[in-house]
């Protein structure tokens, strides 16, 4: 960990795709402290997924520095300092649920007994006990995503990177998994960076919401979320929740992105 207590520290980050091509991210500075839950929100094309992948050293930055736990991103990846969850569950069909969750543990060289024990704990954590021998395609989308979350948490990484993990799920499942994720986050004391395009999801989950502008992607504003913990279904009905949703929405408007309108329209319909 670096001296200032940041788990993730991003300085002067710029990403250009192709030679002299599209600038996806420009001059990003961001610090994420231990135990924080930070959401990145912005219209499509603002580079939020790219930013997440740069933190995970899956994509390389063009300029700037990224440190994770005080180490360069590459070193942190090789040390397996973070777990990752994508929008698709990315489970391997040829592995059972238990073996999918055990995959990172196999890579870390854990022995069979230790793996089995951890898998049991993880299944309990995501409330899927009894499904260890199922194959992914036998589960619903929400259950698959819970397996994916269990896999990401299985080796207790200090940092969790989540790229629109609930984006493909229906609203009911999404809200239930939001609460479940917050419970797991609180129980494990991990740090989360969470990419989403849903304003209410970002406000509900986060300790801070980072609003990004499109083309090139920049940090437009940062909205601290002072809603009390633990958050419950009732949190969504508090006046403060709506105030914060409005604040994030107005920040998004200020970025002048067309796509925001669509997001807002659908969210209003649901509300």
């Amino acid at each position: 960990m670096s001296a200032d207590g940041s788990v993730v520290s991003i300085r002067g980050l710029t990403k250009v795709f192709g030679k002299g091509g599209v600038t996806a991210l420009q001059d990003i500075d961001l610090e994420v402290g231990r135990g924080e839950f930070v959401s990145l929100i912005g219209p499509s094309g603002c580079g939020k997924s790219t930013l997440l992948r740069i933190v995970g050293d899956i994509v390389e930055p063009s300029e700037g520095d990224v440190t994770v736990n005080g180490k360069p991103a590459r070193k942190a990846r090789l040390d397996r300092d973070y777990g990752i969850v994508f929008q698709a569950p990315v489970l391997y069909d040829w592995r059972t649920v238990a073996k999918n969750i055990a995959l990172p543990l196999e890579m870390l060289g854990w022995d069979r007994a230790k793996r089995a024990e951890r898998v049991r704990d993880m299944l309990e954590l995501v409330e899927l006990t009894g499904f260890e021998r199922y194959h992914p395609w036998q589960l619903s989308g929400g259950m698959q995503q819970r397996v994916s979350i269990a896999r990401a948490f299985s080796f207790s990484p200090a940092l969790l990177l989540m790229d629109e993990p609930f984006g493909a799920l229906d609203e009911m499942t999404r809200e239930r998994l939001n609460i479940e994720l917050l419970r797991i986050w609180a129980e494990t004391g991990s740090t989360v960076i969470f990419v989403t395009h849903s304003i209410s999801e970002a406000v509900f989950l986060s300790t801070r919401v980072v609003v990004m502008s499109p083309r090139p992607g920049r940090v437009a504003s940062v909205v601290p979320v002072d809603l009390p913990q633990p958050r419950t279904a009732a949190t969504r009905e508090e006046p403060r929740f709506f105030e914060l949703v409005t604040e994030v929405r107005e920040s998004l408007h200020a970025t002048g992105a067309d796509e925001v309108e669509e997001t807002l329209a659908t969210e209003d319909e649901i509300a």
Partner: protein, 272 residues
């Protein structure tokens, strides 16, 4: 959910399964009856065009030693060619998938070669290996198997969902781990569909290869010499044996596929 998975299969009772097969069995019986009576008696199809079913069965019984010996020789050629061609193809595909620049350089030629009528080389291979060598036929079968297996395996190894690879990368997985745990298992459906095609091609290669030389007892030679002696029923019996071998070969590969991919939705049947 667990109960629905375990009881779904047995609850489709045997009787129901048999009923599913009734139409196919009826068609099979009608086909044989047409062969036996309709074609020769009603439509007047001559013996040299297609002998009566009972005559073919008679030849099958009377010439069983000749046919079995021939079948064994040809089967060995086909299986040998299949194993050799498919095996080399899979190894080459792994190498090309691991070192992509090679793959990108060679792929257009592989796809073009896949479209060559390789069977046209059959007479030439005798010149390479000698008229009586079984290797000419093994080679034809192997080359026939090689390209489809190579092209499909390579496609299977490389068309993996990018996020599956990103996930492995996040675990600091070595290239070897990525192959072992992701690329190879996810290529299996492609590999097996190619192997099934290859099993058919290997039989074709071996039988057609027989026509141009090699052992005088091979099945292809039996077909050819029986025609020359106007013993049509024997030719047809040999063709029937070749067909049965081909189907058995295909079914064996299918069986291995079902075992190797027992995790796959298409094998297990979707749970309700």
């Amino acid at each position: 959910m667990s109960s629905s998975v375990s009881t779904a299969a047995p609850s489709r009772r045997l009787g129901e399964r048999i009923r599913d097969w009734v139409p196919a069995v009826v068609v099979f019986g009608l086909g044989l009856a047409a062969w036996q009576w309709l074609l020769p008696d009603v439509l007047g199809v001559e013996e040299f065009l297609l002998p009566r079913f009972s005559d073919v069965v008679g030849a099958l019984v009377n010439e069983r030693d000749l046919l079995l010996r021939g079948a064994w020789i040809t089967l060995k050629e086909a299986v040998g060619g299949f194993v050799l061609g498919s095996g080399v193809a899979i190894v080459v595909a792994l190498v090309l998938a691991r070192w992509r620049p090679f793959g990108n350089a060679l792929m257009p030629y592989m796809i073009a070669a896949n479209a060559i009528p390789i069977i046209a080389f059959a007479p030439i291979t005798n010149a390479w290996f000698g008229l009586l060598s079984p290797w000419s036929k093994v080679t034809i079968a192997a080359v026939l198997c090689f390209f489809p297996v190579l092209v499909n395996t390579l496609r299977g190894l490389t068309s993996v969902d990018p996020e599956s690879i990103e996930l492995m990368r996040s675990y600091a997985a070595s290239e070897r781990d990525v192959f072992r745990r992701v690329r190879i298992p996810s290529s299996l459906p492609y590999v097996f569909s190619a192997l099934k095609v290859a099993s058919v091609l290997a039989m074709i290669g071996a039988v057609v290869g027989d026509y141009f030389g090699g052992s005088l007892e091979a099945l292809g030679i039996v077909v050819l010499s029986a025609v020359n002696l106007s013993r049509y029923a024997t030719s047809w019996a040999a063709i029937l044996v070749a067909s049965i071998m081909g189907i058995a070969f295909y079914a064996t590969i299918s069986g291995i596929e079902r075992y190797a991919m027992r995790w796959h939705p298409s094998v297990r049947g979707k749970a309700s």
